[in-house]
Symmetry: C2
Subunit: 111 residues, 2 copies
């Protein structure tokens, strides 16, 4: 997040959901609240550092809610806020598109 004003809604949305992981995290929390370790395991390839970093940002953005259950071992659950859920819904068509064109996308030459 660098800017303060946007020319169009897409501009603003990309700023919020930008980066490699936020959309995936949002998606992972779609069904049910998950704890840190569950999230890490459900998003293949993400490092602990990235997961926390993104979760913290998304908490500030008001997309996810963080709930600490004081126990040993620690248990922290992450869930979507209403705001997060609304963004998730806006991402569904994009996810569908990616799903429909997966083969085409994978066939794109890299570098």
């Amino acid at each position: 997040m660098k800017k303060r004003t946007y020319n169009c809604g897409l501009d603003a949305a990309v700023d919020v959901v930008g980066g490699k992981w936020k959309a995936l995290i949002l998606w992972a929390l779609h069904r049910e609240p998950l704890r840190f370790g569950e999230l890490r395991r459900s998003i293949s390839g993400i490092s602990e550092k990235m997961l926390i970093q993104q979760l913290r940002e998304m908490e500030v953005y008001g997309l996810v809610h963080r709930e600490v259950h004081r126990q040993v071992p620690p248990k922290v659950e992450y869930s979507l806020t209403e705001f997060g859920r609304s963004l998730n819904e806006a991402l569904i068509p994009l996810g569908d598109w990616g799903h429909r064109h997966m083969a085409t996308i994978e066939a794109i030459p890299r570098d």
Copy 2:
């Protein structure tokens, strides 16, 4: 574009439309084909280098079509392909979301 396989469609879509500019360029070409200079002027803040770089990638991805009219001064028109149009449509809900929540997004504290 770094990966070859994806876990979900959203993953793939984010890989294609990722970065700061591609979604904006797609959006700018929504109405009509534009030439290089028109594009540059219609996307505020973009540098020539970024615009070309992104256009080239999007051409490889099959999202935009580049047509050179041999004249002096040169005229090059960029337009959306069917593939590009389909992606653009998938981005509409996201753009709407950003538009609806613009005030909230702008109010998010930075850094």
